[in-house]
Symmetry: D2
Subunit: 346 residues, 4 copies
Amino acid sequence: MSNTRVAINGYGTIGKRVADAVDAQDDMEIVGVTKTGPSFGCDLAVKKGFPLYCTSDDPERIASFAAGGYECAGGLSDLLASSDIVVDCSPGKHGEENLATYRTVGIKAIFQGGEKHALTGLSYTSSANHAANLNADATRVVSCNTTGLSRTLVPLHDHCGSLKVECTMIRRAADPGDSKKGPINAIKPVLKVPSHHGPDVKTVKPEIEINSLAVAVPTTIMHVHAIIADLPEGHGLSTESVIDLWKAQPRVIVMAGEANRLTTTAEVMEMARDIGRKWGDLHEIFVWEDGVSLQGDRLYYFQAIHQESDVIPENVDAIRALMGTETDWRASVARTDAAISHYYNL
Amino acid sequence: MSNTRVAINGYGTIGKRVADAVDAQDDMEIVGVTKTGPSFGCDLAVKKGFPLYCTSDDPERIASFAAGGYECAGGLSDLLASSDIVVDCSPGKHGEENLATYRTVGIKAIFQGGEKHALTGLSYTSSANHAANLNADATRVVSCNTTGLSRTLVPLHDHCGSLKVECTMIRRAADPGDSKKGPINAIKPVLKVPSHHGPDVKTVKPEIEINSLAVAVPTTIMHVHAIIADLPEGHGLSTESVIDLWKAQPRVIVMAGEANRLTTTAEVMEMARDIGRKWGDLHEIFVWEDGVSLQGDRLYYFQAIHQESDVIPENVDAIRALMGTETDWRASVARTDAAISHYYNL
Amino acid sequence: MSNTRVAINGYGTIGKRVADAVDAQDDMEIVGVTKTGPSFGCDLAVKKGFPLYCTSDDPERIASFAAGGYECAGGLSDLLASSDIVVDCSPGKHGEENLATYRTVGIKAIFQGGEKHALTGLSYTSSANHAANLNADATRVVSCNTTGLSRTLVPLHDHCGSLKVECTMIRRAADPGDSKKGPINAIKPVLKVPSHHGPDVKTVKPEIEINSLAVAVPTTIMHVHAIIADLPEGHGLSTESVIDLWKAQPRVIVMAGEANRLTTTAEVMEMARDIGRKWGDLHEIFVWEDGVSLQGDRLYYFQAIHQESDVIPENVDAIRALMGTETDWRASVARTDAAISHYYNL
Amino acid sequence: MSNTRVAINGYGTIGKRVADAVDAQDDMEIVGVTKTGPSFGCDLAVKKGFPLYCTSDDPERIASFAAGGYECAGGLSDLLASSDIVVDCSPGKHGEENLATYRTVGIKAIFQGGEKHALTGLSYTSSANHAANLNADATRVVSCNTTGLSRTLVPLHDHCGSLKVECTMIRRAADPGDSKKGPINAIKPVLKVPSHHGPDVKTVKPEIEINSLAVAVPTTIMHVHAIIADLPEGHGLSTESVIDLWKAQPRVIVMAGEANRLTTTAEVMEMARDIGRKWGDLHEIFVWEDGVSLQGDRLYYFQAIHQESDVIPENVDAIRALMGTETDWRASVARTDAAISHYYNL
């Protein structure tokens, strides 16, 4: 079977990572990536050997790349014409317009969590609903936060049969390379209560009852979730067996914080740098083992989310789901992670 | 009736504020404040006209004040001998030793939230248990966080008859003047789950069921509480009537965040600076009106706590409780606040 | 002699402070302050008893105040008609338009450092050029940074006869109440080299040779200047006599950092809160005594600038200069500071 | 010729990076790395395949590794016995004791910038004094700041014949993984004036006249230097030719900030993550091209230093200097960088 030909529309924070992850797989390849014009970000594409396309078909804009010293292989239409599927990593709010373009061309499409579920009527995380996404025309890989919640809540729900969740999200205010945003010395609550973050889990796992509150704080690395989950009677779980459940789950790291001196998100990300993945990324959700506590039927835990990278492997799996090239989610996850997540035994 | 004579043992962040607040009342007066030795903090006491005492009775340490250019009126024993009550604002962990000293002298004592409830077996917030503290020998004014929770939860409980609460505390990492502490760019979860913060409310209001999770974040101004309270059936409340309940409560400010451009703790503290209290303090708890939402029997809300000052007026009320000079908590609160909290109509 | 009648056009961060400072003087009074429309900031004016005017003469906008629950005394023209002088504290970039309005009315005007020197052709700091501003129609009180440089450099220059200065400015990124700005975890150099900050000193003291470099850092409190000043041969100064020179200068505080535990801007601002001025302001420039070092003819020192407040007393002095009510700058400074800067002996 | 056998004593922030860089060279190899006991950091060594040794020869401490699940190959003496040279990356202050140990064994040694020059009487940067270090018994690779200054100042000095420099250092307060240190919202001047940082350059290039001032600011990524260099008369340089001089220098990146959207240290480090080196490191010094300005004989510029990694390649070169295996510094630099700094054309 020939490789799936993948286009990346938007080569920024997410796009550059998805391109790298796709490139590392042996059943898919990057046909090209798009930029709005010649800029520093083009260098990375050139270095990686990814053909550069313009986000527009406007000949003038296409020509501007040459003026900036970059070879441009054509406009978006040219890229889509030679691809099987497009991963849309554009900055958001262009979903509807882009989807219309993709449909005209007749190409499958994957959007990111910045778009609403309603755009495609279908959302995706690897562990929640891979099967429901098989052979679909278009889907949305949910946000980093929703992906993170799905990783720990779905196995818990599947074990228990039902789940009621409250999550308080302590969100990083800006990405590391985003130097204009604040706040510098403040906490900012999201005053829409409950926030939209938690309920978004229902787009991939409608059976989970969940609400959330959110605040933004002045850091650039990782969101933290403080989670309270009410298990149904007769769940048969203990703090230890919940931990075991998660340790058996792909893309979840469960480690003691105090014993390993990993007591903050700074130290967790430092560990990620040690592991040696590109950009110092951590694709996995990090759960502090000593912060998990089941009190009667109420489970408390903290997890940390690397906002720039946890959705990257889901995008790879989503490609296989839409192309129908791998029907078993666990098999896809194993294949994806073997190629990009050379994580040593922790 | 003669004024209550108050000693302040420990003239730091809390001590200097309590001294100011006591000094502003017309039924009590500052007899003196203690410092460990001559240092910059002594200047403030001198300027305020508060007699300076040494935290120790050691003649050499008492003499050291003169060498530093300050007049020292004596040792701790001298101060206690001429006082009716001592407010212990020492840095914590000296509670047991200090309480023994106070008992030997036969003086009443108020401790702060850094000490455990077990030290005195009695804790205090104005709205929760003023009556239970009347004429007691010693009590503990609970921490800024517990005081803040008491302000909004006690009236809610008293209206409903029962209450089950989960609180996620997003804590400032250090006080503004504390320049050594971090973390700079990280979120630090408190891995003891549930944390001790929420349950401490039971020391003043045992009927409230409450647990909490806590994280520290890199700011110096205000804690934020993300609170979920389950009201009992038949509570008869609506989002609006909960807001009205709090608006009628002393030391609780309820204001719209978006409409007033008070969307972060930075802007709330800026408002406090405008009001013109000493140190830019905000004695009241700040509740974002547009962040209150009652969904069925589950109430969600955010509140912000000025960690340096919300306990200050409670210390004044606690003096009246222990001295038995005011039996009605609302009367004491009104008297305290009229003297220090010239808060204009918001 | 009757009081000088002062209008404040723009009642924000600077305007509210200037209004308070003017109000505290016994030779001037606030006629009114302007706001663009009804908003939270109006409350402060009402509380202070300052008549509220609209920044525009548009009847519809004037009427909007009543809808917001505030009494509006009229438009800007009404305010100017009953004033002798206007202090323009509008957000900047409206200088030319506003100056034209003021000139049409025939009212004297003081602008802030956000405007360019060319607007009025005249700039002001109390110690540098009060005499040159006497009876002028319009002037500009220079920025917080330039004011701060003027405080320590002018007496040094006047003693030595000439001065060559290089200043590296480590600038706070945002004001405390400004919760949207970053950067959170970055240093941002001002790539225009030399920066405009230092040379602006020449607008009030052309004889000083000065250049500057600037970086922005993620704090909200105080700028820090790292200054290198080359004294001319035969200056006759020592580290000690430089310190004495500054101690004799108004609005300069020189204190040891290590001995007083004032080693960072956080602790300096905490001291300012203790002093008890409105908003916790520090009108004076803070020089670390143990950071002053004269090596041959080259003087090194650090100073810290409270960006929100050091220009406030200069505005009051500038009013007296333009009105011609006080020809001696030292007399004006003494009068201004006695009313607002009850600073105890440090 | 057989490979140089290298021991790493202290496998932390610097040690782990030096080990990786040495391991990547084809003329040297890692014999082993030391840890004080079993801890999370041991995992990285195991993963890398570096034999683990104990920093002590105490049998009990050696045995403790097995208890923690790690194989320990012996004590420090065992490691040194089978090595040609040791790179001492211990936390500092143990220099004298360690040097004595190394001398007893008769092994060559390289220390880091946390130790004083006096320890070895010899210091090192690749471009300044490789020749002077040839075949020496022990040297010290200077600190990240001194290394950074050496990179841009040495070629400037060598071109001009003399140089007088003032540098204001805006220092990051803590490393990214160091979550306890502050300050969170403050600027902290180094009150020892001039600071020790700049003059340390003289340990590798005594001909350069240099002083420095330093402040710490709340970031975790990169130091920034604001530099003023006085060139001697007849230097014949222009802003452009200075830039060309640096572009021709190894381990110096000169790029426009505004045009490339690299206006802060955050964006510079984000670029470093794109390049794909381990830990997202940037071994090169980053000079903002649009921040370089020669005004007469005075040169102004800004440079940024990645504090965790710029000394790493110097350590590799220093090994070759002490072993006498490469006498030409440029040849060593080229060899080192080809193995670790696959930096694409910028």
